[in-house]
């Protein structure tokens, strides 16, 4: 079978999880736990196998023709608007499918252990598979519209999965918030699609050309159009990838189960925005200013999220803000034109962030649903595998050699420097320092230091800065995952962490994925080492995307790397020194104390949520209420009721004609007769 024939079977990649989703939705309850979980994992593993086959098939093609659009059917045909339902396999999409399905399979496996005992176990896996299918359609789609379809699909699944434990009101609200905030971004995406169709006549990716060859239709577009398209696509990405100012949904999305946070909000869905910008990079290349906007928003978001993560007490919220920060790095790379660096960081981030989230889930599971780091400490003795893998992830994200995060983050910073964007480099460097610091804080508070979970919870209430403001709910841990879900009934511990619950290691279905991801976090950097002469920059050459500014000579790049490494080491060292003994005796956080009053601002995430709710959702709610009460109830209902009333009153009035008196009826007859007579008289005579 030739490579092209194999690639035409690319539709199998999303088909497997889609099939799994359908089966689980229909008969999932009868399949039950744990077979439902194994079925879902099998489906996505098959998808991974197909992705690997497709990868090798693609690789066997020569570089100039390394793209295959599979056969499909015409989905929409309306006049000159034609959209085909076909899948495009090229280096970018095949790379994406590889890590989406690979990391996805590991997370599915993990979820079998994590969701053990949940009442809606099969439904969870149905949603996970549905999500995987949507994400794969997003990545493999051959046109903007197919990508948008997958985009909306992952948004839907995100909503379904965040509010999976919908009995808890905060989860339901978080799901809605995620969906609505995404929709705001989606509006930008749609406008971009309209503009693309109007100017280019098609939504197909084939119209975008390749890196080597920009189509004439696009290069002929005026600057304003190209910038508009680029920025509108970026608006969609801002919503989906949680950049300022639409990042507000991601921290609240931690209400969902941890596998969801790992899969959707670390490894895959949030990267869809980056993917979109990379796919449509031709617009960013041609526009003179769009890249600057993207890079600055990415950089500022990275710094912003890193500062907020410094004072978070929930183990997952720290990671959520960390994700926002790392996504900022990816957009920084996109903005300076280093698209393959962005993809590289996306891949390594998927490895270590999924690892960190799954590790956090393991900690939560082992601690009996405790999520507040202030009540943990010293648990590496009880959960050695979790601790070891978590440390791998920590070193990767902090940018320590030779872990994957060092290579990818370093490349982004280097590209920014050599593009003469020194301010961006500086912001990125500071964010890297902060990243190392807060991750160290997290590791030390959770795994090292005294075992605070044996203490009484009362000491926490006094010295907690995070409670100072009214909206401190933002810094609160999302709360233990609900009792109603009947989780966690293994090994007979029914107590909670306050009572000195003894932590324990997780089952093999949970720590095997951790181990695999830890390994990948260590060696993952090998796919794109910056030693160009030795041809070790495998990913760069494979992706065939613009690489951004190149280092003038190896020496300057080497020095920059040393500086980045030094920053990471400084961050870690400072973190260890501050948190060596965990929290203080009265429960105060030493780092928070050093920040003083500013810690309150950070705890409330610079009050951006409040700004949104007061200046946007408040007026919008008022407007909606006006429409519902004023326009709908009074106006429209009033009109309809008014017609009824008018009919009744009219009838009532006309009723008075029926006097019952013969004289009046005779008068009516006389009136008619006279009118007729007059008419005839005048007509006949004149």
């Amino acid at each position: 079978m030739s490579a092209r024939n194999l690639l035409d079977l690319a539709w199998l990649i999303p088909a497997f999880p889609a099939f799994g989703a359908v089966v689980l939705l229909l008969v999932g309850n009868r399949i039950g736990e744990p077979k439902a979980g194994w079925l879902a994992t099998a489906m996505i593993s098959l998808s991974f196998v197909s992705s690997v086959v497709a990868f090798f098939a693609l690789r066997s093609l020569s570089p100039h023709v390394r793209a295959n659009v599979s056969q499909g059917f015409t989905w929409i045909q309306a006049g000159s608007f034609k959209v085909d339902f076909r899948f495009l396999v090229d280096p970018l999409s095949s790379t994406m499918t590889l890590f989406v399905t690979g990391v996805g399979s590991l997370i599915h496996l993990y979820a079998i252990g994590y969701m053990h005992g949940d009442q809606r176990f099969p439904r969870f896996f149905a949603y996970l598979n549905l999500f995987a299918a949507s994400m794969l359609v997003l990545v493999l789609g051959s046109s903007f519209l197919l990508t948008f379809m997958g985009w909306e699909g992952v948004g839907l699944c995100s909503y379904l999965l965040i509010s999976f434990w919908f009995e808890r009101n905060s989860a339901a609200v978080a799901g809605k918030k995620a969906f609505i905030t995404n929709r705001v971004g989606d509006f930008g995406f749609m406008l971009a699609m309209f503009l693309i169709f109007e100017k280019l006549g098609t939504l197909d990716y084939s119209a975008l050309g390749t890196t080597a060859h920009v189509p004439a239709a696009i290069s002929a577009l005026p600057q304003s159009t190209v910038t508009a398209i680029a920025l509108l696509l970026f608006v969609g990405a801002v919503g989906k990838s949680a950049q300022l100012p639409l990042h507000i949904w991601l921290p609240d999305a931690m209400e969902g189960p941890t596998p969801v946070s790992a899969l959707i909000h670390a490894a895959t869905m949030v990267t869809a925005g980056v993917f979109l910008c990379v796919r449509a990079h031709v617009f960013f290349d041609l526009s003179t200013h769009a890249g600057t906007v993207v890079a600055w928003i990415g950089a500022i978001t990275a710094l912003y999220a890193a500062t907020v993560a410094l004072v978070q007490n929930d183990i997952k919220r720290v990671l959520a803000y960390s994700t926002i920060s790392q996504l900022g790095y990816m957009f920084l790379a996109v903005g300076v034109g280093a698209y393959s660096a962005a993809i590289f960081h996306m891949i390594t981030h998927a490895f270590f962030k999924a690892l960190l989230f799954l590790g956090a889930g393991s900690v939560i599971h082992g601690m009996g649903d405790e999520q507040d780091m202030r009540r943990m400490g010293g648990i590496r003795k009880y959960m050695p595998i979790t601790a070891a893998t978590f440390i791998f992830g920590w070193l990767a994200i902090a940018g320590m050699v030779p872990f994957a995060g060092f290579w990818s983050k370093d490349e982004i910073l280097a590209k920014a420097w050599f593009n003469h964007d020194y301010a961006l480099w500086a912001i990125g460097a500071v964010a890297a320092l902060l990243t190392a610091f807060y991750m160290t804080r997290q590791v030390w508070l959770v795994f090292y230091g005294p075992e605070r979970f044996r203490d009484d919870a009362a000491f926490l209430s006094g010295a907690d800065v995070a409670h100072a403001e009214d909206a401190a709910v933002l810094a609160e841990p999302v709360g233990p995952e609900p009792v109603g879900a009947a989780r966690h009934d293994d090994a007979g511990h029914g107590g909670d962490a306050h009572a000195g619950h003894e932590p324990h290691e997780s089952p093999w279905t949970m720590y095997v994925p951790l181990a695999v991801l830890a390994f990948l976090s260590l060696v993952g950097g090998a796919i794109d080492l910056p030693f160009v002469n030795s041809k070790l920059n495998v990913l760069d050459r494979w992706l065939d995307l613009p690489e951004g500014a190149l280092a003038p000579h190896f020496y300057s790049a080497f020095v920059l790397s040393l500086i980045a490494l030094a920053l990471g080491v400084v961050g870690i060292a400072y973190g260890i020194s501050v948190y060596r003994n965990g929290l203080r005796a009265d429960g105060a956080d030493p780092g928070v104390e050093r920040l003083g009053g500013f810690a309150g601002v950070l705890a409330n995430a610079y009050y951006i949520d409040i700004v949104w709710s007061r200046f946007v959702s408040g007026p919008l709610s008022a407007f909606a209420r006006f429409l519902s009460d004023g326009v709908d109830r009074a106006g429209i209902d009033g009109a309809v009721n008014g017609i009824a009333t008018a009919a009744r009153e009219g009838g009532g009035g006309l009723r008075r004609l029926q006097t019952g008196l013969v004289r009046n009826y005779a008068l009516g007859i006389a009136l008619g007769t006279v009118l007729l007579l007059l008419y005839v008289a005048t007509r006949v005579t004149f």
Partner: protein, 190 residues
Amino acid sequence: MDAVIFFASAALVLVGALGVVVGRNPVHSALFLLVTLVSVAVLYLQQHAALVAAIQIVVYASAIVVLFLFVITLLGVDKFEPLDDAHPLQRVAAIVLGVLAFVGIIVLVHGNRWVTGAHSTRGALGATDSGNVKTLATSLFTDFVWAFEITAVLLVIAVVGSVVLARRSGHRPEVGLPEAGSPERERTST
């Protein structure tokens, strides 16, 4: 001479008509009706319609008016009745319509030059002083004999109908009239 007869009769007709409408006592109205009917008969005579005039007097002026008077006194409504009206609008509207109708008719007939002067279709009037009895009778018994016979049937139906309608039904006691078999009757007969 014609003119004098005409204007005198016309005046009587209108006076009688107004009397019928305005009279508060139904008996007065009936008597004014009589005046009108007789005056109209005179006008018929003036137009060479002697048989019609005779029939008018015999049927209308006597039989019908007498019938009216019978019923009025039978029902005992020969009393004065007030002429006020709970529906003043009715009165105003009626007068307005009446005036409009009058104007309309005049306009209609005047605009068509009153009479068209068409030829006779059924038979010319006879000599002006014979009263047209022979002509009318001939026409009636030849051209219109079918209608003539039907009107006889109509009269029979009318008689039967009025007897049925006016018959006392059932054993309900009526006002003013002693019932057959009632105690008063029994007493007066014995």
